[in-house]
């Protein structure tokens, strides 16, 4: 399987909103390369007609009724906020338009 390049790591870091330093980039690229080569072993197993398992519990159709439950107060909701204003969470200017 292909090794992972420094550029790919940088791209993935951007995608996951991680402002990695140059040093971290170098380190991660080589470490992830080793890890990826090891985990790529899963490809050795011939699994074309094997169904994937996403849940180990054999449950389906778990629902709740459309009935209101107690919620948080505005104070509790904002209690951990790094920055809040008049009942809302305040964030710096957003660059991207919504997808």
């Amino acid at each position: 399987m292909a090794a992972i390049s420094r550029e790919e790591v940088a791209h993935l870091a951007r995608l996951s909103r991680l402002a990695v330093t140059e040093q971290e980039l170098d380190q991660f690229a080589s470490q992830l390369d080793v890890i990826l080569q090891s985990v790529a072993r899963v490809g050795e197993v011939a699994a074309d007609d094997i169904p994937p398992t996403s849940h180990s519990v054999p449950l389906t159709n778990v629902y709740r009724d459309d009935v209101p439950l107690p919620c948080l107060t505005q104070e509790e909701a904002l209690s951990g906020a790094p920055d809040a204003f008049e009942g809302r969470f305040r964030v710096p200017r957003i660059l991207d338009e919504e997808v």
Partner: protein, 487 residues
């Protein structure tokens, strides 16, 4: 009076109930012990003196009662406790006080247990040594220069150091069992879905399982029965009643395993483990045979792919679960100087707030889920999961439980496995398969190797948690418990 901190939870519960000793006395004794030894062990990230004494007082006044009333318990810091700092051992949640408590914490409170504080762990439950905690490692009470296991090293060390008789951990790839093994304590992972994940800071959602840590099998079973059970706030919570794990533990303690078939996983008794670990394992097998058990060798051919599959599934799920830590609603925010955009502030915050192992896994997970790579990595890993499940199901047609050493090596020195992440991952070699299957497993201390504890792992079919407690209690009755050198 015998040292209260040396007593089991079962014993303490009995003495408190009979009035021989008060819950406050018991709480105080443990708080004193923490004060005396935790500067060297560092099992706790937060000790809640006031809360503990208040909870103990409520037991003494008769306000709360139950089978574990007044018994102290420590809680891994990945679990939400209302009003009490919950950090997941990460800088990104430094000082965060949740406005709500996890379901299992509420159950612990209703049962009258006394929460002493929050224990140390690898950051966001990612690790096998607690070296990845952002607040410094925990030291193994058996040898303070060695790791206590991970990710739940704090809970296990607190038990081993007599700071608490009971603790809660969480197990995703072995994070309860492996620390149990290297600290000479009991650590159990219930069937996935058997204990509620509501309030458990998610690492890998389809694998995370809260579970009990204790010094004896019966204590672990008692704690298990208090926290387990269906929770409507967790969609993956098992609706069926909790199996009678306490009854099973007591049955096992009588030391009779006639007719019980133990399957030794062939792939796990090769050269991968330290010789001392294998020796203790084999001695334990002999002890179990003497109790009437039959040993059968079974082959689980796909178990060799469990580790790589896990290190694709878990990082993938965690890359998504950790996206919420963005400096908007809670936790750390860095770099907000009035000029930077939100995207920049988010990126700076996450880079400053997450440690290297967490970052590696987020990047790895993002990669494995990327279009173009999904089928080869995440998709393939989910198929391997099916094959491993089938291996378990086939094996359980032949035997009642599967057994193996819990982990290939005893407690290793600090720094010996951090330069190569994959070397650290190998500690989970034997514990991971059952997480992928969703079945219950327990680690019981079974011997020593060069003075350090070795753990014996027992794995049972899903929903048959009682079965593993029975065999574990039987082994304990044969080999006894192990006490670390005085601190």
């Amino acid at each position: 009076m015998t040292d209260l901190t040396r007593m089991s939870a079962t014993e303490l519960a009995g003495r408190i109930k009979s009035g021989e000793v008060s819950a406050v006395e018991v709480a105080q004794a443990h708080l004193d012990r923490i004060e005396a030894v935790d500067p060297r062990v560092h099992a706790f990230l937060h000790v809640d003196r006031e809360g503990a004494l208040a909870a103990a007082a409520r037991v003494d006044s008769g306000e709360v009662s139950g089978p574990l009333a007044g018994v102290p318990v420590a809680v891994k810091d990945v679990i939400a406790t209302k009003g009490i700092p919950t950090t997941a051992a990460s800088k990104i949640l430094e000082g965060w006080r949740p406005p709500y408590s996890a379901t299992i914490v509420e159950r612990l409170q209703r049962a009258g247990t006394v929460m002493l504080g929050k224990t140390n762990m690898d950051e966001f439950a990612m690790g096998s040594s607690t070296e990845y905690s952002a607040y410094g490692p925990t030291n193994n009470p058996w040898d303070l220069g060695r790791i206590p296991g991970g990710s739940g090293g704090g809970s296990a060390a607190a038990i081993a150091a007599y700071e608490a008789p009971l603790a809660i951990g969480t197990d995703t790839g072995g994070s309860i069992r492996q620390p149990g093994a290297v600290t000479g304590t009991v650590g159990a992972k219930p069937t996935y879905g058997g204990t509620s994940r509501y309030g458990l800071i998610a690492f890998s959602s389809s694998l995370d399982t809260p579970g009990p840590c204790a010094r004896t099998v019966e204590d672990a079973a008692l704690l298990h029965s208090v926290i387990a059970g269906h929770d409507p706030r967790d969609s993956t919570s098992i609706p069926q009643p909790v199996p009678d794990v306490v009854g099973a533990a007591r049955l096992g303690a009588t030391g009779d395993l006639t007719g019980v078939k133990l399957g030794v996983v062939k792939e796990f008794v090769g050269d991968g483990s330290e010789p001392g670990v294998m020796a203790a394992f084999r001695d334990s097998l002999e002890a179990l045979v003497k109790l009437g058990a039959e040993v059968v060798e079974v082959s689980c051919a796909h178990f060799q792919y469990a580790l790589p599959a896990y290190y694709l599934i878990a990082p993938s799920e965690c890359s998504s679960n950790l996206a919420r830590f963005d400096g908007v609603r809670y936790g750390l925010r860095v770099g907000d100087d009035g000029n930077r955009s939100l995207e920049e502030v988010m990126s700076l915050t996450r880079d400053a707030g997450f440690g290297p192992e967490v970052k590696r896994r987020i990047i790895l997970g993002t990669y494995a889920l990327s279009s173009g790579y999904y089928d080869a990595y995440y998709g393939q890993a989910q198929k391997v999961r099916t094959l491993i499940t089938r291996d378990f199901q086939t094996a359980f047609e032949q035997v009642d439980v599967l057994v193996s050493p819990t982990t290939p090596f005893v407690a290793f020195p600090f720094g010996s496995r951090t330069s190569d992440p994959y070397q650290m991952y190998l500690a989970d070699l034997f514990t991971i398969p059952t997480n992928l299957y969703g079945g219950p497993a327990i680690s019981v201390p079974c011997g020593l190797s060069e003075g350090l504890p070795v753990g014996f792992q027992i794995m049972a079919p899903t929903m048959a948690d009682d079965r593993m407690y029975r065999v574990a209690a039987a082994l304990e009755s044969a080999v006894g418990t192990f006490t670390p050198p005085a601190l």
